[in-house]
Amino acid sequence: MVDAKQTIAATMRELPLEKPADPAQKTQIERRMRRRGTASRFWWLVPALYIIFLMLPIYWLVNMSLKTNSEITGTFSLWPQQPTIRNYMVIFTDASWYSGYINSIIYVVMNTVLSVAVALPAAYAFSRYRFLGDKHLFFWLLTNRMAPPAVFALPFFQLYSAFGLIDTHIAVALAHCLFNVPLAVWILEGFMSGVPKEIDETAYIDGYSFPRFFMKIFMPLIASGIGVAAFFCFMFSWVELLIARTLTTTAAKPIAATMTRTVSASGLDWGVLAAAGVLTLIPGALVIWFVRNYIAKGFALGRV
C-alpha cells in the first residue's frame, strides 16, 4: 500500500519532466491553482463561526456560575459584575455534590474498560471470519441502541434488584454496556478490517500463539481504533442520565442526577446548577484531549 502510494507520488512528480508542458498552459494551471488558494483562504470562517456558535451557550453557563443568584435573576450582564466562587465552593465542600462526580467517573471508567474488553475479540471475529449468523448478529447488535430507554427503565430496575445490584456502580456500568458494546464493536471492526490479513498469517507462521499475537502485534496496530472506541464509550456513558438515575439511589448516584435536585425553598439555585454544569464539562474535555491525535488519524483505516 505504502509502496503503491509512493510510486504514484513519484510518477506525479516526474510527469512534467517527461512531457514538458508549453509555458502558457503551465502558467494557466498555476494561476488556477493560486486562485483556488486565495478563494479558500476565507473558508476557515466556517469552522470558526461554528465554534463561536458552540461556545456562546457554554460561555453563558460559565458566566452564570460566577455570579450570585440575585445577579443572575435580577440583572442582565455579559460578564459577572461581582465575580464570586461561592457556587463552586458549595460543590467542593458538600459531599452530596462532589461524590456525584466520583460516582459518575467510577461507573463510566468501569463501563469503558468492560465494553472495550469484550468488544475487542468480538470485533476481531467479525472482521476476520464468516460464521453462522454473523451478519444478523452484527445488525442485531445495533438494534440494542434503538430500544427507547424511557420504558426500559422499569424492567432494568426489576432486573438489577433481582441480582441485588441496585445502587452499585457495577449495575450502571453493566446497563450502559447495552448501548456501548455495539458501538465499540462497530468502530473496532472498521479499524481491524483495515489491517491486512497477511499480518495475522505471518505472525502465526512465526510461531505466535493467538493471545500473544493479539496483545503484542495486533492491538498496537489498532491503538487509534481502541482510543476512538474508548472515547465513544466514555462519552455515551458519561452523558446518559435516565438509566443511571433509575439504578441508583444514594451510594452510586451520578452527578447529572444530583443536578436535578437543586430546587430549594428560595427557588432554583441557578448559580450552583451552573457551576455543577461547568464541572461536568471538565472530564470530557480531558478525555478528548487525550484521543485528539487518534481521531485525527482516521476513523477507519481501511473501510472508509
Partner: protein, 288 residues
C-alpha cells in the same frame, strides 16, 4: 477482504453476546410481558392479548407524537448532515488549529443531556438568557414557553448545537484518511473544488456517513431528556415527542400495559427505519 468460514469465531463473540443479552433480552421480555397483560395492582396480571396494541394504534395521540418525531428527525438530519460535512471540509488539516478545533467541537457531545437542556433553557430565556435577550433586543417576539414555533426552533437549535459535532468528527476522520495521491491526481486534471468533493471526498465518506446518519436518526427518534428539560413537551403538546409521551404514560399515569405496547411498536418502527437506511447506505459496498 475474503474471510474464512470458521464457526469457532463464535467463542470470541460469546462474552460480548452474554454481556449484551443480560441487559437486552430480559428487560425486553419483561416489556413484552406487560404489553399483553392487564393488572389491577398487587402483581396480579390478566391476559389482555392485543388489546393494548389496538388501543395504541387507534389513538390519535400516538400518531400525533409519531408525526412530530418524524418531522423532528427529518429536520435535524437535513440540517446536521450537510452542515457537518461543510464544516469538516473546511477544518484545518495540520498545525495548532487541529487539536483546538477537535477539542472545542467535541465539548457539547460530552455534556450530560440534562445539562444540555439546562444550558438551553437558560440561554433562551427572555429574562436571563443571552439568546432570548438578544432576540428581544432586535425586536423579534421570541418566547419558547408560550409559542409552539419558538419552542420548536429552540429544540432544533439545541439539537444542532449538541450533535452536529458528531457528524463533523466522523466526516473529518473520514476525510483525513483519503490519501494525498487522490488530490494530486485531481489537481493535475484541473478538477474544480466541487468536482473533488463530488467524485473523491463524498464517495470516500460513505461509510462514516452511514454511521453518522444511523446514529443521528436513532438518537433523535428517541430524544427525551433535552426537550423534556427545556419545554417539558409544551407549550400544549407541541414538543411532546414519542418518548416524552411514553414516560407520561408509564410514570405519570402508570398505564404499564399501553406504555409497554407503545414501546414495542416504537421499537419496531425505529428498527424498520434503521434497517432501511442501513440497507440503502450499504447496498453499494458489494459493487466496489
Amino acid at each position: 477482504m475474503n474471510k474464512t468460514w470458521n464457526n469457532k469465531a463464535w467463542f470470541m463473540v460469546l462474552p460480548m453476546l452474554l454481556l449484551v443479552l443480560f441487559s437486552a433480552a430480559i428487560p425486553l421480555m419483561t416489556v413484552v410481558n406487560y404489553s399483553v397483560q392487564d393488572t389491577f395492582g398487587n402483581n396480579v396480571f390478566f391476559w389482555a392479548g392485543t388489546e393494548w396494541y389496538e388501543q395504541i394504534l387507534n389513538s390519535r395521540r400516538f400518531w400525533d407524537a409519531m408525526g412530530r418525531n418524524l418531522a423532528f428527525s427529518f429536520i435535524i438530519l437535513a440540517i446536521e448532515i450537510p452542515l457537518g460535512i461543510l464544516i469538516a471540509l473546511n477544518m484545518p488539516r495540520r498545525g495548532w488549529g487541529v487539536p483546538l478545533c477537535l477539542v472545542l467541537m467535541a465539548l457539547p457531545l460530552l455534556i450530560p443531556w440534562n445539562v444540555v437542556g439546562t444550558i438551553w433553557q437558560v440561554f433562551g430565556r427572555v429574562d436571563i438568557g443571552l439568546l432570548g435577550r438578544v432576540l428581544e433586543g432586535i425586536g423579534i417576539d421570541y418566547n419558547y414557553v408560550r409559542d409552539p414555533l419558538d419552542a420548536w426552533i429552540t429544540v432544533i437549535l439545541m439539537d444542532v448545537w449538541h450533535w452536529t459535532s458528531l457528524v463533523v468528527l466522523l466526516c473529518y476522520a473520514g476525510l483525513v484518511s483519503i490519501p494525498d495521491a487522490y488530490y494530486q491526481a485531481a489537481r493535475i486534471d484541473g478538477a474544480s473544488r466541487f468536482a473533488i468533493f463530488r467524485y473523491i471526498q463524498l464517495p470516500k465518506l460513505r461509510r462514516v456517513l452511514t454511521i453518522a446518519i444511523l446514529l443521528r436518526f436513532m438518537d433523535s427518534f428517541m430524544i427525551y431528556t433535552e426537550p423534556f428539560v427545556v419545554t417539558g413537551g409544551g407549550p400544549g403538546n407541541s414538543t411532546t415527542f414519542l418518548s416524552i409521551d411514553l414516560v407520561k404514560m408509564a410514570v405519570g399515569q402508570f398505564d404499564l400495559g399501553p406504555a409497554a405496547a407503545m414501546s414495542i411498536i416504537y421499537f419496531l418502527i425505529v428498527l424498520l427505519l434503521s434497517w432501511i437506511f442501513y440497507t440503502v447506505m450499504t447496498s453499494h459496498e458489494g459493487e466496489r
